[in-house]
Symmetry: C2
Subunit: 337 residues, 2 copies
């Protein structure tokens, strides 16, 4: 077993199937001898009795201290006026970029082969400003806010990502033919950053055309960077090309090197606690976290074990057409290590 | 040849490949003995020398008088501050619903079989309000406007369409988990109308999830109704499933029974005037116009002739992998009549 001092990482198992799939991650990380010490906190729809709040100060501070974490699905508290805890975390921790790699999993067949896309989503503003009001009865408006600061930040991140990951092209996705000022500013920032990376191909693509081209020929794209809502839409579309949110990881990037990896699927209350959930998205998110920590060897080992288990096809959870329990599938991955 | 008094219909051939594909429609309609008298007007990026404007009053009045028309692609005038002529027409003529059927064309293979979807897009407001401004330097905002009036109108249209076209389900697409007020109002209107159509199944689907499910399994959907931008995105995505905008028709519906059918692809300046354009989208839009006019027999005849020509595969334009000219393809359709 490893003798390195363990790295502390925050773990938010979350709601519904969250605890089961987080258990799977812990088991696989232990089997792979990863020197991580989990700093586990509950964030979810159950109120913390001490603070009467959904999200405690300790939970946030844990991420700020450890600078790295992994989160499972969190349901949105029921009742008017509650905002999604996923969003609250992104806002409170200033997680400005959401990175979602979507690639075909060898052995898991969809209509698309060889998909290999990275969506990078601005994660803090745009259509998610929360600014809305009724103008007069029957007339409501929402504000979409685009700032130079947030646009530059996510554009810089996207090009740096492309460069450090050996990617060839960045596509900036927009609807600036309609929203000339907001999406126009976003594009202008992307243009500016692109000029500093002459070795990376750069293009602007209108979102409607982008979605059409993605379903026709995803190989046309490489890294995609975009404002918040377009990122929400396109990252899910891309996940659909390779099998859905149960198979795709994500990682939220914040200032000062903070990274909070996240499974973006739902909490699946219908199957929660039944040992039926597919832990793949959270496991692959854990792999992204390890890569962020430069624990590349173990990241690759775990990644291969997951891919090989799915490709082998003997142990698959129900969502992938199999009959395995979460535990069986997790054990199979550990056996591959 | 037909002895009925011809019905007057406006024709805007538009820019780029517009005139060629409009020629194709005229030829096919003549071959099918359709009693249409075209009232042709130029609307496009060339300025009318008499009025010094892109869009003349006569052009608009023609649609208002005839109540029915067909339009080709129009480019957006170059230079700051010009808005898309497509949008200007929709706004000026109060074309509140954009209907885009997307179905697999027999004989034209894509990754998807048996797609049969209708997207119905609110066409006048939402993210297309044109209201945008700079708040302070580096901070810009766009307003998304949702009104009860426009939402009820498009929801009513969607359910009526579903009922009269033997459709089983309407899905209202939204992001009300984020834009609770704007998309919330849109949904509330859909709910209200749905209650009047108990025979039609109704569901609300979040746009990101909708896009993922559309690429995984489009058969889950039937009629989709949504605010403007989501309609823009999803209708293109759906077109992509069956081969792209060159193959999918659309029709804009206004008050007082106005219908302006429209090919939504671009004006393709690179191949304009070269007899290479595929007229299918405009032809199928013409078929939608005929159905609107209850000229169902001729609509079906022309529709079959188009489908059969493509299915036969002998005459296909370059975009479909063939080598035929627009003229060859059009002649082949006429031969099938
Ligand atoms: C749950 C929801 C608020 C969230 C979003 O819209 O960002 C989700 O779709 C995501 O992509 O993480
Ligand atoms: C050309 C553009 C302004 C237009 C739109 O955004 O509506 C187009 O994409 C469409 O769907 O007709």
């Amino acid at each position: 077993s490893s003798s390195t001092t363990p790295i502390k990482a925050t773990l938010f198992p979350g709601d519904g199937i969250g605890p089961e799939i987080a258990e799977s991650v812990k088991q696989v990380f232990t089997a792979a001898d990863v020197a991580i010490e989990w700093d586990e906190h509950y964030v979810g729809t159950e109120v913390d009795p001490r603070t009467n709040s959904f999200l405690t100060w300790e939970s946030l501070q844990s991420v700020l201290d450890n600078k790295v974490g992994l989160k499972g699905p969190m349901a949105t508290p029921i009742g008017k006026g509650h905002r999604s805890l996923n969003l609250t975390l992104r806002k409170e921790l200033n997680l400005y970029a959401n990175v979602r790699p979507c690639y075909s999993l060898p052995g898991y067949k969809t209509r698309y082969d060889d998909v290999d896309l990275i969506t990078i989503r601005e994660n803090t503003e745009g259509e998610y400003s929360g600014l809305e009001h009724q103008v007069v009865k029957g007339v409501v408006e929402s504000l979409k806010i685009i700032t130079r600061k947030a646009s530059m930040r996510v554009a810089e991140y996207a090009f740096l990502y492309a460069k450090t990951h050996g990617r060839k092209k960045v596509s900036a996705i927009h609807k600036a033919n309609i929203m000339q000022k907001t999406d126009g500013l976003f594009l202008k920032c992307c243009d500016e950053v692109a000029a500093k990376y002459p070795e990376i191909e750069y293009e602007q693509v209108v979102i409607d055309n982008c979605c059409m081209m993605l379903v026709k020929n995803p190989a046309l794209f490489d890294v995609l960077v975009m404002p918040n809502l377009y990122g929400d839409i396109i990252s899910d579309l891309c996940a659909g090309l390779v099998g859905g949110l149960g198979l795709t990881p994500s990682c939220n990037i914040g200032e000062d090197g903070i990274a909070l990896a996240e499974a973006v699927h739902g909490s699946a209350p219908d199957i929660a606690g039944k040992n039926l959930a597919n832990p793949t998205a959270l496991l692959l998110s854990g792999v992204m976290m390890l890569r962020h920590l430069k624990l590349n060897k173990q990241a690759e080992q775990i990644h291969s074990a997951i891919i090989n288990t799915i490709a082998e096809g003997k142990y698959r959870t129900a969502d992938l057409g199999g009959t395995s329990t979460t535990t069986d599938f997790t054990n199979a991955i550990c056996d591959h290590l």
